[in-house]
Protein backbone atom coordinates (compact mmCIF):
# COMPACT_ATOMS: atom_id res chain seq x y z
CA UNK A 1 0.00 0.00 0.00
CA UNK A 2 2.78 2.42 0.90
CA UNK A 3 4.42 1.49 -2.41
CA UNK A 4 1.27 2.63 -4.21
CA UNK A 5 1.22 5.90 -2.23
CA UNK A 6 4.87 6.49 -3.05
CA UNK A 7 4.26 5.95 -6.74
CA UNK A 8 1.23 8.21 -6.67
CA UNK A 9 3.24 10.92 -4.96
CA UNK A 10 6.07 10.39 -7.47
CA UNK A 11 3.66 10.88 -10.37
CA UNK A 12 2.47 14.19 -8.92
CA UNK A 13 6.06 15.31 -8.33
CA UNK A 14 6.83 14.52 -11.96
CA UNK A 15 3.91 16.70 -13.01
CA UNK A 16 5.65 19.77 -11.57
CA UNK A 17 7.44 22.13 -13.98
CA UNK A 18 10.69 20.64 -15.23
CA UNK A 19 13.04 23.09 -13.55
CA UNK A 20 11.41 22.65 -10.15
CA UNK A 21 11.13 18.89 -10.45
CA UNK A 22 14.73 18.48 -11.57
CA UNK A 23 16.01 20.57 -8.72
CA UNK A 24 13.84 19.38 -5.85
CA UNK A 25 12.06 16.21 -7.01
CA UNK A 26 14.51 13.76 -5.50
CA UNK A 27 14.55 15.54 -2.13
CA UNK A 28 10.74 15.75 -2.13
CA UNK A 29 10.51 11.99 -2.61
CA UNK A 30 12.99 11.32 0.21
CA UNK A 31 11.16 13.69 2.53
CA UNK A 32 7.84 12.12 1.57
CA UNK A 33 9.12 8.67 2.54
CA UNK A 34 10.32 9.98 5.88
CA UNK A 35 7.18 11.94 6.63
CA UNK A 36 4.56 9.51 5.32
CA UNK A 37 4.20 7.62 8.56
CA UNK A 38 3.78 10.64 10.82
CA UNK A 39 2.04 13.07 8.43
CA UNK A 40 -0.08 10.67 6.38
CA UNK A 41 -1.12 10.95 2.75
CA UNK A 42 -4.11 13.07 3.78
CA UNK A 43 -1.75 15.91 4.62
CA UNK A 44 1.06 15.28 2.12
CA UNK A 45 -1.25 14.71 -0.89
CA UNK A 46 -2.97 18.12 -0.86
CA UNK A 47 0.38 19.71 -0.04
CA UNK A 48 2.08 18.40 -3.17
CA UNK A 49 -0.98 19.10 -5.34
CA UNK A 50 -1.10 22.67 -4.11
CA UNK A 51 2.63 22.98 -4.70
CA UNK A 52 2.14 21.81 -8.30
CA UNK A 53 -0.56 24.44 -8.86
CA UNK A 54 1.65 27.17 -7.39
CA UNK A 55 4.68 26.18 -9.46
CA UNK A 56 2.76 26.00 -12.73
CA UNK A 57 1.09 29.32 -11.93
CA UNK A 58 4.48 30.88 -11.30
CA UNK A 59 5.82 29.26 -14.46
CA UNK A 60 2.96 30.58 -16.61
CA UNK A 61 2.99 34.03 -15.06
CA UNK A 62 6.74 34.37 -15.47
CA UNK A 63 6.53 33.30 -19.10
CA UNK A 64 8.20 29.89 -18.94
CA UNK A 65 10.84 27.97 -17.08
CA UNK A 66 13.78 29.89 -15.76
CA UNK A 67 16.82 29.84 -17.94
CA UNK A 68 19.48 28.04 -16.00
CA UNK A 69 22.09 26.26 -18.08
CA UNK A 70 23.64 24.61 -15.03
CA UNK A 71 20.38 22.86 -14.18
CA UNK A 72 19.52 21.79 -17.66
CA UNK A 73 17.61 18.47 -17.64
CA UNK A 74 18.84 15.61 -19.74
CA UNK A 75 16.57 13.30 -21.67
CA UNK A 76 19.19 10.58 -21.50
CA UNK A 77 19.18 10.67 -17.73
CA UNK A 78 15.51 9.82 -17.76
CA UNK A 79 14.50 13.31 -16.74
CA UNK A 80 11.46 15.27 -17.68
CA UNK A 81 12.34 17.55 -20.60
CA UNK A 82 10.32 20.35 -22.14
CA UNK A 83 10.30 19.67 -25.88
CA UNK A 84 10.10 23.38 -26.59
CA UNK A 85 13.55 23.87 -25.17
CA UNK A 86 15.77 24.86 -28.01
CA UNK A 87 18.97 23.55 -26.49
CA UNK A 88 18.22 19.91 -27.35
CA UNK A 89 20.55 18.88 -30.13
CA UNK A 90 19.66 16.62 -33.02
CA UNK A 91 22.04 13.96 -31.67
CA UNK A 92 20.34 14.05 -28.31
CA UNK A 93 16.90 13.81 -29.87
CA UNK A 94 18.07 10.93 -32.08
CA UNK A 95 19.51 8.99 -29.18
CA UNK A 96 16.38 9.65 -27.18
CA UNK A 97 14.28 8.29 -30.02
CA UNK A 98 16.37 5.10 -30.19
CA UNK A 99 16.10 4.56 -26.45
CA UNK A 100 12.35 5.17 -26.45
CA UNK A 101 11.68 2.78 -29.33
CA UNK A 102 13.90 0.12 -27.75
CA UNK A 103 12.18 0.41 -24.38
CA UNK A 104 8.76 0.28 -26.01
CA UNK A 105 9.69 -2.86 -27.98
CA UNK A 106 11.12 -4.53 -24.90
CA UNK A 107 8.00 -3.66 -22.93
CA UNK A 108 5.91 -5.49 -25.48
CA UNK A 109 8.35 -8.41 -25.48
CA UNK A 110 8.62 -8.47 -21.68
CA UNK A 111 4.87 -8.42 -21.05
CA UNK A 112 4.28 -11.19 -23.54
CA UNK A 113 7.05 -13.67 -22.86
CA UNK A 114 8.73 -13.26 -19.49
CA UNK A 115 7.50 -15.87 -17.00
CA UNK A 116 6.11 -14.39 -13.81
CA UNK A 117 8.20 -16.56 -11.51
CA UNK A 118 11.54 -15.19 -12.67
CA UNK A 119 13.72 -14.20 -9.76
CA UNK A 120 15.40 -11.19 -11.37
CA UNK A 121 14.05 -8.29 -9.42
CA UNK A 122 15.81 -5.12 -10.48
CA UNK A 123 13.90 -2.07 -9.40
CA UNK A 124 11.73 -1.56 -6.37
CA UNK A 125 11.67 0.94 -3.58
CA UNK A 126 12.01 0.07 -0.80
CA UNK A 127 14.33 -2.76 -1.81
CA UNK A 128 12.97 -5.97 -0.33
CA UNK A 129 14.94 -9.12 0.32
CA UNK A 130 13.36 -12.34 1.48
CA UNK A 131 14.90 -13.38 4.77
CA UNK A 132 16.70 -16.66 4.97
CA UNK A 133 14.71 -17.33 8.09
CA UNK A 134 11.40 -17.22 6.28
CA UNK A 135 9.52 -20.36 7.32
CA UNK A 136 8.82 -23.22 4.96
CA UNK A 137 5.72 -23.44 2.81
CA UNK A 138 2.29 -23.86 4.32
CA UNK A 139 2.00 -27.61 4.10
CA UNK A 140 5.04 -28.12 6.30
CA UNK A 141 4.22 -25.56 8.91
CA UNK A 142 4.43 -26.50 12.52
CA UNK A 143 1.01 -25.60 13.94
CA UNK A 144 2.63 -24.24 17.07
CA UNK A 145 4.75 -21.82 15.09
CA UNK A 146 3.51 -18.24 14.97
CA UNK A 147 5.02 -17.82 11.52
CA UNK A 148 3.38 -20.16 9.00
CA UNK A 149 4.13 -19.04 5.48
CA UNK A 150 0.54 -18.34 4.52
CA UNK A 151 0.14 -19.68 1.00
CA UNK A 152 -1.65 -17.32 -1.29
CA UNK A 153 -1.76 -14.60 1.33
CA UNK A 154 -1.32 -11.01 0.31
CA UNK A 155 2.06 -9.39 0.66
CA UNK A 156 3.16 -6.01 -0.65
CA UNK A 157 6.61 -7.30 -1.39
CA UNK A 158 5.46 -10.41 -3.24
CA UNK A 159 3.20 -8.34 -5.41
CA UNK A 160 5.81 -5.74 -6.15
CA UNK A 161 8.53 -8.28 -6.81
CA UNK A 162 6.43 -10.27 -9.22
CA UNK A 163 5.37 -7.09 -10.96
CA UNK A 164 8.87 -5.75 -11.37
CA UNK A 165 10.31 -9.11 -12.33
CA UNK A 166 8.50 -8.94 -15.65
CA UNK A 167 10.32 -5.68 -16.37
CA UNK A 168 13.73 -6.89 -15.25
CA UNK A 169 15.14 -7.40 -18.76
CA UNK A 170 13.83 -4.00 -19.81
CA UNK A 171 15.41 -2.26 -16.88
CA UNK A 172 18.69 -4.05 -17.47
CA UNK A 173 18.84 -3.16 -21.15
CA UNK A 174 17.69 0.39 -20.43
CA UNK A 175 20.42 0.73 -17.86
CA UNK A 176 22.89 -0.51 -20.46
CA UNK A 177 21.74 2.04 -23.00
CA UNK A 178 21.59 4.91 -20.58
CA UNK A 179 24.85 4.24 -18.81
CA UNK A 180 28.46 3.97 -19.85
CA UNK A 181 28.34 0.33 -20.83
CA UNK A 182 27.12 -3.19 -20.15
CA UNK A 183 29.37 -3.61 -17.13
CA UNK A 184 27.52 -1.02 -15.12
CA UNK A 185 24.18 -2.56 -16.07
CA UNK A 186 25.36 -5.93 -14.79
CA UNK A 187 26.59 -4.34 -11.61
CA UNK A 188 23.21 -2.69 -11.21
CA UNK A 189 21.39 -6.02 -11.48
CA UNK A 190 23.87 -7.79 -9.26
CA UNK A 191 23.56 -5.15 -6.58
CA UNK A 192 19.81 -5.59 -6.51
CA UNK A 193 20.12 -9.33 -6.06
CA UNK A 194 22.77 -9.34 -3.33
CA UNK A 195 21.16 -9.65 0.09
CA UNK A 196 22.76 -7.40 2.69
CA UNK A 197 22.74 -8.46 6.29
CA UNK A 198 20.25 -6.39 8.28
CA UNK A 199 21.64 -3.85 10.71
CA UNK A 200 18.67 -4.15 13.07
CA UNK A 201 17.40 -7.62 13.84
CA UNK A 202 14.12 -8.85 15.23
CA UNK A 203 13.79 -11.59 17.82
CA UNK A 204 13.43 -14.94 16.07
CA UNK A 205 11.43 -17.61 17.84
CA UNK A 206 13.00 -20.92 18.76
CA UNK A 207 10.80 -23.94 18.82
CA UNK A 208 9.04 -25.13 20.83
CA UNK A 209 7.67 -21.80 21.98
CA UNK A 210 6.90 -21.42 25.67
CA UNK A 211 3.30 -20.53 26.47
CA UNK A 212 1.52 -18.66 29.22
CA UNK A 213 -0.33 -20.93 31.61
CA UNK A 214 -3.44 -18.85 31.09
CA UNK A 215 -3.94 -15.52 29.32
CA UNK A 216 -6.71 -12.93 29.34
CA UNK A 217 -7.24 -10.43 26.56
CA UNK A 218 -9.58 -7.63 27.47
CA UNK A 219 -10.61 -5.06 24.85
CA UNK A 220 -10.89 -1.54 26.23
CA UNK A 221 -13.83 0.69 25.45
CA UNK A 222 -12.48 3.60 23.32
CA UNK A 223 -13.76 6.15 25.86
CA UNK A 224 -12.03 4.30 28.70
CA UNK A 225 -8.89 3.86 26.60
CA UNK A 226 -8.68 7.60 26.03
CA UNK A 227 -8.51 8.08 29.78
CA UNK A 228 -6.06 5.22 30.35
CA UNK A 229 -3.71 5.94 27.46
CA UNK A 230 -1.86 9.21 27.39
CA UNK A 231 0.59 9.35 24.52
CA UNK A 232 3.94 10.89 25.34
CA UNK A 233 4.96 13.97 23.31
CA UNK A 234 5.89 13.06 19.75
CA UNK A 235 4.50 9.51 20.02
CA UNK A 236 1.88 8.37 17.58
CA UNK A 237 1.40 4.68 18.39
CA UNK A 238 -1.11 3.68 21.04
CA UNK A 239 0.90 1.77 23.69
CA UNK A 240 -2.05 -0.56 24.33
CA UNK A 241 -2.43 -1.42 20.64
CA UNK A 242 -1.75 -4.89 19.33
CA UNK A 243 0.87 -3.48 16.94
CA UNK A 244 2.75 -2.35 20.01
CA UNK A 245 2.32 -5.84 21.52
CA UNK A 246 3.68 -7.42 18.31
CA UNK A 247 6.63 -5.03 18.46
CA UNK A 248 7.37 -6.20 22.01
CA UNK A 249 6.98 -9.86 21.06
CA UNK A 250 9.44 -9.58 18.17
CA UNK A 251 11.86 -7.14 19.78
CA UNK A 252 11.06 -4.35 17.31
CA UNK A 253 12.01 -0.89 18.49
CA UNK A 254 10.31 0.96 15.64
CA UNK A 255 6.82 0.58 14.27
CA UNK A 256 8.33 0.63 10.76
CA UNK A 257 9.67 -2.86 11.56
CA UNK A 258 6.12 -4.25 11.67
CA UNK A 259 4.63 -4.04 8.19
CA UNK A 260 1.01 -4.44 7.10
CA UNK A 261 -2.04 -5.51 9.08
CA UNK A 262 -5.48 -3.95 9.50
CA UNK A 263 -6.17 -0.55 11.05
CA UNK A 264 -7.50 -2.01 14.30
CA UNK A 265 -3.94 -3.12 15.10
CA UNK A 266 -3.14 0.55 15.71
CA UNK A 267 -6.47 1.87 16.94
CA UNK A 268 -7.99 -0.72 19.28
CA UNK A 269 -6.74 -0.93 22.85
CA UNK A 270 -6.38 -4.19 24.76
CA UNK A 271 -5.22 -5.21 28.19
CA UNK A 272 -3.30 -8.46 27.67
CA UNK A 273 -2.23 -10.41 30.71
CA UNK A 274 -0.57 -13.81 30.75
CA UNK A 275 0.28 -15.97 33.75
CA UNK A 276 3.79 -17.39 33.56
CA UNK A 277 3.93 -21.11 34.44
CA UNK A 278 5.18 -21.88 37.95
CA UNK A 279 8.29 -23.75 36.76
CA UNK A 280 9.28 -20.69 34.71
CA UNK A 281 8.76 -18.47 37.74
CA UNK A 282 11.44 -20.45 39.58
CA UNK A 283 13.85 -20.48 36.65
CA UNK A 284 14.78 -16.77 36.43
CA UNK A 285 17.42 -17.13 39.15
CA UNK A 286 19.44 -19.19 36.66
CA UNK A 287 18.87 -16.85 33.73
CA UNK A 288 20.31 -13.56 32.57
CA UNK A 289 17.98 -10.63 32.11
CA UNK A 290 18.21 -11.11 28.32
CA UNK A 291 17.17 -14.76 28.69
CA UNK A 292 14.14 -13.69 30.70
CA UNK A 293 13.20 -11.10 28.08
CA UNK A 294 13.52 -13.70 25.31
CA UNK A 295 11.42 -16.19 27.24
CA UNK A 296 8.67 -13.61 27.69
CA UNK A 297 8.83 -12.72 23.99
CA UNK A 298 8.40 -16.39 23.13
CA UNK A 299 5.25 -16.57 25.24
CA UNK A 300 3.93 -13.37 23.66
CA UNK A 301 4.52 -14.82 20.18
CA UNK A 302 2.76 -18.01 21.20
CA UNK A 303 -0.24 -16.00 22.39
CA UNK A 304 -0.32 -14.00 19.14
CA UNK A 305 -0.31 -17.20 17.11
CA UNK A 306 -2.96 -18.93 19.23
CA UNK A 307 -5.40 -16.16 20.08
CA UNK A 308 -4.92 -13.72 17.21
CA UNK A 309 -4.13 -16.34 14.55
CA UNK A 310 -1.15 -14.24 13.49
CA UNK A 311 0.66 -15.38 10.36
CA UNK A 312 3.68 -13.39 9.27
CA UNK A 313 7.12 -13.69 7.72
CA UNK A 314 10.47 -11.96 8.05
CA UNK A 315 12.00 -9.81 5.33
CA UNK A 316 14.97 -7.50 5.01
CA UNK A 317 14.10 -4.09 3.59
CA UNK A 318 16.24 -1.07 2.90
CA UNK A 319 14.55 1.70 4.90
CA UNK A 320 15.28 5.33 5.77
CA UNK A 321 17.34 5.47 8.96
CA UNK A 322 19.55 7.83 10.87
CA UNK A 323 23.16 6.71 11.12
CA UNK A 324 25.39 7.64 14.03
CA UNK A 325 28.69 8.84 12.56
CA UNK A 326 31.62 10.79 14.02
CA UNK A 327 31.29 14.56 13.51
CA UNK A 328 33.96 16.51 11.66
CA UNK A 329 35.38 18.00 14.85
CA UNK A 330 36.09 14.55 16.28
CA UNK A 331 34.68 12.64 19.20
CA UNK A 332 34.20 14.73 22.34
CA UNK A 333 33.85 11.81 24.76
CA UNK A 334 36.59 9.42 25.80
CA UNK A 335 36.53 5.66 25.86
CA UNK A 336 36.28 3.98 29.25
CA UNK A 337 36.78 0.34 30.34
CA UNK A 338 33.92 -2.02 29.55
CA UNK A 339 31.63 -2.93 32.46
CA UNK A 340 31.97 -6.40 34.02
CA UNK A 341 29.85 -9.04 32.34
CA UNK A 342 26.59 -9.86 34.09
CA UNK A 343 26.26 -13.56 34.88
CA UNK A 344 23.15 -15.60 35.65
CA UNK A 345 22.45 -15.53 39.37
CA UNK A 346 24.25 -12.22 39.96
CA UNK A 347 22.17 -9.98 42.24
CA UNK A 348 20.44 -7.13 40.38
CA UNK A 349 22.22 -3.77 40.66
CA UNK A 350 19.92 -1.20 42.22
CA UNK A 351 21.78 2.04 43.00
CA UNK A 352 20.34 4.17 45.76
CA UNK A 353 19.47 7.85 45.51
CA UNK A 354 22.64 9.85 44.99
CA UNK A 355 24.77 6.81 44.18
CA UNK A 356 26.86 6.99 40.99
CA UNK A 357 25.47 5.16 37.99
CA UNK A 358 26.70 1.57 37.78
CA UNK A 359 28.85 0.79 34.70
CA UNK A 360 26.83 -0.19 31.64
CA UNK A 361 23.73 1.73 32.71
CA UNK A 362 22.05 4.98 31.75
CA UNK A 363 19.57 7.35 33.32
CA UNK A 364 17.26 9.67 31.40
CA UNK A 365 15.41 12.47 33.14
CA UNK A 366 13.64 15.74 32.46
CA UNK A 367 15.03 19.08 33.55
CA UNK A 368 12.85 21.69 35.24
CA UNK A 369 12.24 23.40 31.89
CA UNK A 370 11.05 20.24 30.17
CA UNK A 371 14.28 19.28 28.42
CA UNK A 372 15.51 15.74 28.25
CA UNK A 373 18.78 14.98 30.03
CA UNK A 374 20.79 11.81 29.55
CA UNK A 375 23.61 10.53 31.73
CA UNK A 376 25.21 7.17 31.11
CA UNK A 377 28.26 5.25 32.23
CA UNK A 378 30.30 2.85 30.08
CA UNK A 379 27.70 2.26 27.39
CA UNK A 380 28.25 1.24 23.79
CA UNK A 381 27.19 3.23 20.75
CA UNK A 382 24.47 0.70 19.89
CA UNK A 383 22.86 1.28 23.28
CA UNK A 384 23.11 5.05 22.83
CA UNK A 385 21.30 4.68 19.49
CA UNK A 386 18.51 2.76 21.21
CA UNK A 387 18.21 5.24 24.08
CA UNK A 388 17.83 8.34 21.90
CA UNK A 389 15.71 6.61 19.26
CA UNK A 390 12.46 7.92 20.76
CA UNK A 391 13.38 11.50 19.92
CA UNK A 392 14.39 10.97 16.31
CA UNK A 393 10.88 10.24 15.06
CA UNK A 394 9.94 6.78 13.90
CA UNK A 395 13.14 6.39 11.98
CA UNK A 396 15.54 3.68 13.14
CA UNK A 397 18.97 4.73 14.34
CA UNK A 398 21.90 2.53 13.41
CA UNK A 399 25.48 2.74 14.59
CA UNK A 400 27.97 3.60 11.83
CA UNK A 401 30.59 5.15 14.10
CA UNK A 402 32.87 2.14 14.06
CA UNK A 403 33.53 2.66 17.78
CA UNK A 404 33.35 -0.67 19.57
CA UNK A 405 34.31 0.55 23.04
CA UNK A 406 32.28 1.99 25.91
CA UNK A 407 31.79 5.66 26.70
CA UNK A 408 30.52 7.88 29.52
CA UNK A 409 27.87 10.46 28.65
CA UNK A 410 27.33 13.43 30.91
CA UNK A 411 24.46 15.87 30.65
CA UNK A 412 23.38 15.36 27.06
CA UNK A 413 20.44 17.81 26.92
CA UNK A 414 17.94 18.32 24.14
CA UNK A 415 14.38 19.41 23.48
CA UNK A 416 11.97 16.46 23.15
CA UNK A 417 10.56 15.80 19.71
CA UNK A 418 7.18 17.39 19.10
CA UNK A 419 7.16 19.36 22.33
CA UNK A 420 7.80 23.06 22.65
CA UNK A 421 10.27 23.83 25.38
CA UNK A 422 8.96 25.47 28.46
CA UNK A 423 11.21 28.50 28.19
CA UNK A 424 11.21 28.65 24.35
CA UNK A 425 14.90 29.35 24.52
CA UNK A 426 16.61 29.49 21.13
CA UNK A 427 19.79 28.13 22.74
CA UNK A 428 18.32 24.70 23.36
CA UNK A 429 19.45 22.34 20.62
CA UNK A 430 17.49 19.58 19.00
CA UNK A 431 18.71 16.03 19.54
CA UNK A 432 20.82 16.20 16.37
CA UNK A 433 22.45 19.46 17.43
CA UNK A 434 22.99 18.32 21.01
CA UNK A 435 24.70 15.09 19.98
CA UNK A 436 27.09 16.91 17.68
CA UNK A 437 27.85 19.62 20.21
CA UNK A 438 28.17 17.46 23.34
CA UNK A 439 29.36 14.10 22.00
CA UNK A 440 30.93 14.89 18.63
CA UNK A 441 28.56 12.47 16.93
CA UNK A 442 26.26 13.28 14.05
CA UNK A 443 22.93 11.78 13.11
CA UNK A 444 22.98 11.49 9.34
CA UNK A 445 19.87 10.53 7.35
CA UNK A 446 20.57 7.57 5.09
CA UNK A 447 19.13 4.18 4.19
CA UNK A 448 20.09 0.79 5.63
CA UNK A 449 18.87 -2.81 5.51
CA UNK A 450 16.51 -3.47 8.42
CA UNK A 451 14.76 -6.70 9.29
CA UNK A 452 10.98 -6.32 9.30
CA UNK A 453 8.05 -8.57 10.12
CA UNK A 454 5.38 -8.59 7.41
CA UNK A 455 1.93 -9.48 8.69
CA UNK A 456 0.15 -11.82 6.28
CA UNK A 457 -2.91 -12.48 8.41
CA UNK A 458 -4.27 -11.56 11.82
CA UNK A 459 -7.71 -11.77 13.40
CA UNK A 460 -9.32 -10.03 16.32
CA UNK A 461 -8.77 -12.15 19.44
CA UNK A 462 -11.07 -14.94 20.47
CA UNK A 463 -13.22 -14.40 23.57
CA UNK A 464 -11.71 -15.44 26.90
Amino acid sequence: MSSFRRRLYGVIVRMHPADFRNEFGREMMLDFEDALHSYGLGRLGPDVLWSMVRQWSACVLSGGPEQSPALRPSLLAGQYVMIREERLTMIELGRGLVVTVTIFALCMFGLGSVPRNTSRAVVDVPIVYASSSTPATGSNVDPSSPLPAGEGSYSDSKLSQSAVSAFAPIATVSATLLSDGPASALAFTGAAQAQPSPELLLFHPSSPLPSYEVATIKPLDPNTADRVVKLPPGASLNPLSIRRYIMDAYGARYSAQIVGGPDWLNNDSYIVHGKVPDDFEAAPQKMTSQDRIDQNRGMQQSLLAGRFNLRAHFETRVLPVYALVPAKGGLKITEVPAPPEYKPGDPPIRPGVGDPLPPGSSMGSFSSNGLRVLNARAIKMQLLARIVSGDAGDRPIVDHTGFTGCFDIKGLTWAPLGEATADNSPDVPSLIGAMEKTLGIKLVPTRAPIEVLVIDHIEKPSEN
Binding site: A35, D47, W50, L71, L417, E419, G433, P445
Partner: protein, 117 residues
Protein backbone atom coordinates in the same frame (compact mmCIF):
# COMPACT_ATOMS: atom_id res chain seq x y z
CA UNK B 1 16.14 41.37 -7.57
CA UNK B 2 17.81 41.38 -4.19
CA UNK B 3 17.01 44.61 -2.36
CA UNK B 4 19.46 45.50 0.39
CA UNK B 5 16.80 46.69 2.78
CA UNK B 6 15.48 43.66 4.75
CA UNK B 7 12.17 45.49 5.24
CA UNK B 8 11.54 45.13 1.50
CA UNK B 9 10.88 41.40 2.03
CA UNK B 10 8.31 41.90 4.77
CA UNK B 11 5.86 40.66 5.81
CA UNK B 12 6.92 37.03 5.52
CA UNK B 13 4.38 34.29 5.03
CA UNK B 14 4.05 31.87 7.99
CA UNK B 15 5.80 29.08 6.05
CA UNK B 16 8.71 31.33 5.06
CA UNK B 17 9.05 32.60 8.60
CA UNK B 18 9.10 29.08 10.02
CA UNK B 19 11.63 27.83 7.46
CA UNK B 20 14.00 30.70 8.23
CA UNK B 21 13.44 30.19 11.93
CA UNK B 22 14.19 26.46 11.65
CA UNK B 23 17.50 27.21 9.95
CA UNK B 24 18.67 29.31 12.89
CA UNK B 25 19.31 26.03 14.72
CA UNK B 26 21.93 25.06 12.13
CA UNK B 27 22.28 23.57 8.68
CA UNK B 28 19.38 21.25 7.96
CA UNK B 29 18.17 19.15 5.05
CA UNK B 30 14.54 19.29 3.96
CA UNK B 31 13.17 16.69 6.35
CA UNK B 32 15.21 18.20 9.17
CA UNK B 33 13.53 21.55 8.46
CA UNK B 34 10.10 19.88 8.54
CA UNK B 35 10.87 18.30 11.91
CA UNK B 36 12.33 21.51 13.31
CA UNK B 37 9.30 23.54 12.20
CA UNK B 38 7.00 21.03 13.91
CA UNK B 39 9.14 21.09 17.04
CA UNK B 40 9.37 24.88 17.24
CA UNK B 41 5.63 25.26 16.86
CA UNK B 42 4.80 22.52 19.35
CA UNK B 43 3.31 20.43 16.52
CA UNK B 44 0.74 23.15 15.81
CA UNK B 45 2.21 24.01 12.42
CA UNK B 46 3.55 21.40 10.03
CA UNK B 47 4.68 21.86 6.47
CA UNK B 48 4.90 19.17 3.81
CA UNK B 49 7.62 18.79 1.18
CA UNK B 50 5.58 20.70 -1.42
CA UNK B 51 5.23 23.82 0.70
CA UNK B 52 8.78 23.44 1.94
CA UNK B 53 10.45 23.37 -1.46
CA UNK B 54 8.18 26.12 -2.84
CA UNK B 55 9.62 28.29 -0.11
CA UNK B 56 13.16 26.95 -0.41
CA UNK B 57 13.15 27.78 -4.10
CA UNK B 58 11.95 31.30 -3.38
CA UNK B 59 14.48 31.78 -0.58
CA UNK B 60 17.34 30.44 -2.71
CA UNK B 61 16.44 32.87 -5.49
CA UNK B 62 16.34 35.77 -3.03
CA UNK B 63 19.65 34.72 -1.47
CA UNK B 64 18.13 34.31 1.98
CA UNK B 65 19.28 30.70 2.23
CA UNK B 66 21.92 28.71 0.42
CA UNK B 67 22.21 25.02 -0.38
CA UNK B 68 25.24 22.85 0.35
CA UNK B 69 25.67 22.04 -3.37
CA UNK B 70 24.09 23.08 -6.64
CA UNK B 71 21.97 19.98 -6.95
CA UNK B 72 21.32 16.75 -5.09
CA UNK B 73 23.07 13.70 -6.48
CA UNK B 74 22.97 9.96 -5.93
CA UNK B 75 25.97 10.01 -3.62
CA UNK B 76 24.66 13.09 -1.79
CA UNK B 77 20.90 12.76 -2.19
CA UNK B 78 20.06 15.58 0.15
CA UNK B 79 21.27 19.12 0.30
CA UNK B 80 21.69 20.90 3.57
CA UNK B 81 20.33 24.42 3.65
CA UNK B 82 21.92 27.28 5.52
CA UNK B 83 20.67 30.70 6.56
CA UNK B 84 22.67 33.47 4.86
CA UNK B 85 23.57 36.79 6.42
CA UNK B 86 20.84 38.43 4.36
CA UNK B 87 18.36 35.76 5.53
CA UNK B 88 19.27 36.42 9.16
CA UNK B 89 18.76 40.16 8.64
CA UNK B 90 15.34 39.59 7.10
CA UNK B 91 14.37 37.25 9.94
CA UNK B 92 15.49 39.84 12.48
CA UNK B 93 13.45 42.52 10.71
CA UNK B 94 10.39 40.26 10.66
CA UNK B 95 10.87 39.49 14.35
CA UNK B 96 10.95 43.22 15.11
CA UNK B 97 7.83 43.73 13.03
CA UNK B 98 6.01 40.91 14.81
CA UNK B 99 7.14 42.25 18.19
CA UNK B 100 5.55 45.60 17.24
CA UNK B 101 2.35 43.82 16.23
CA UNK B 102 2.31 41.92 19.52
CA UNK B 103 2.90 45.07 21.51
CA UNK B 104 0.09 46.82 19.70
CA UNK B 105 -2.22 43.82 20.10
CA UNK B 106 -1.61 43.66 23.84
CA UNK B 107 -2.21 47.38 24.23
CA UNK B 108 -5.39 47.18 22.18
CA UNK B 109 -6.71 44.24 24.18
CA UNK B 110 -5.93 45.98 27.46
CA UNK B 111 -7.81 49.09 26.36
CA UNK B 112 -10.68 46.94 25.16
CA UNK B 113 -10.90 45.19 28.52
CA UNK B 114 -10.79 48.53 30.34
CA UNK B 115 -13.65 49.83 28.22
CA UNK B 116 -15.64 46.68 28.89
CA UNK B 117 -15.20 47.00 32.63
Amino acid sequence: MKPDDPAAYLPLSPATLHVLLALTSGDLHGYGIMLEVARQSGDQYKIGPGTLYDNIKKLLNLGLVEGSSAKSSKSEPRRNYRLTQRGASVLAAETDRLAGVLREARRGLRLHEERQS
